[in-house]
């Protein structure tokens, strides 16, 4: 088992404190208990932003230095970012059904977030489609940089377009528009999710490093991509060129 570190213990403690804060938080005057879902939905969305920002930096790092650690960081951050994006979408949907009356609506924030999710899933698919480790890291790095354009689009979608999704209450110019106690509960949960993010990312990077070690002994540029079994069909009597 991967060594249990102090960051893992911190994540557990912060999650417990975050949960207690959610239970103790004041009830929203309009949404009632349902507003408590925001203490999980908002951190998940912010951590997705952070993950893709880490991917951007790591992708630039790879293209500049060609050091494998940057590529490991990039793929780790994308996978964890896709997880948090998916979680934000699902939690938004669980909140939307009782509050908006629908699981999904074609709102600019929802659509841009879904596209963000799909593009970074595409990043992971691209990596699986490329056998040469160096070419894979190069292609993934280019996509990792280009795909980050979506993050500000998602964040400002509630400003640029008329949306059903509420505008930013914390990550905005000026003071947050939230009640201070509610803001404190949100901050505690953001800290907890950030600790979970670090725990997940550390393990995913270790996995990427291990994958590379195994691959190094296996891969060569002249080896068949998936063995002889997938060669194209050949008409009887003809010879393969």
């Amino acid at each position: 088992m991967t060594r249990f570190r102090s960051t893992d213990a911190l994540a557990l403690v912060l999650l417990a404190v975050g949960f207690a804060a959610i239970v103790a938080a004041p009830t929203d005057a309009l949404q009632g208990l349902l507003q408590r879902l925001m203490y999980a939905h908002v951190p998940a969305a912010w951590l997705a932003y952070l993950a893709f920002a880490v991917t951007l930096v790591a992708s630039i790092g790879w293209l500049r230095t060609r050091r494998a650690r940057w590529d490991h960081l990039a793929v780790g951050a994308v996978e964890v970012g896709v997880f948090f994006t998916g979680l934000a979408l699902v939690l938004g949907s669980v909140w939307g059904k009782p509050v908006w009356g629908v699981w999904w609506t074609w709102d600019a924030r929802l659509v841009t977030t879904a596209l963000l999710f799909l593009v970074y899933l595409g990043y992971l698919a691209l990596r699986r489609a490329t056998e040469d480790p160096r070419a894979r890291a190069n292609r993934a790095a280019v996509l990792g940089i280009i795909a980050f354009v979506q993050v500000p689009i998602v964040h400002f979608s509630v400003v640029w377009w008329r949306t059903l999704h509420q505008p930013a209450t914390v990550l905005r110019p000026g003071h947050p528009t939230m009640d201070h106690t509610m803001l404190a509960v949100l901050v505690v949960n953001v800290a907890a999710y950030t600790a979970v993010f670090i725990t997940l990312l550390r393990r995913r990077i270790a996995l990427a490093r291990r994958e590379e070690e195994l691959e190094r002994g296996r891969w060569s540029p002249t080896a068949p991509v998936a063995g002889d079994a997938v060669e194209a069909p050949l008409v009887e009597g003809e010879h393969r060129v």
Binding site: L33, L87, V90, V94, R203, L207, R210, E213
Partner: protein
Amino acid sequence: MSDLAWVVLGLSIAYLSMAGYLLSLEVRRRRLDDAGGWP
């Protein structure tokens, strides 16, 4: 469904999915170790 049930559902999804993803990373690492002949 009551508001409390929606909150319990949402928070359960959040905590269980994080635990599930963490577990999946551990399983993937063990499989790699087995494939590579590591102890």
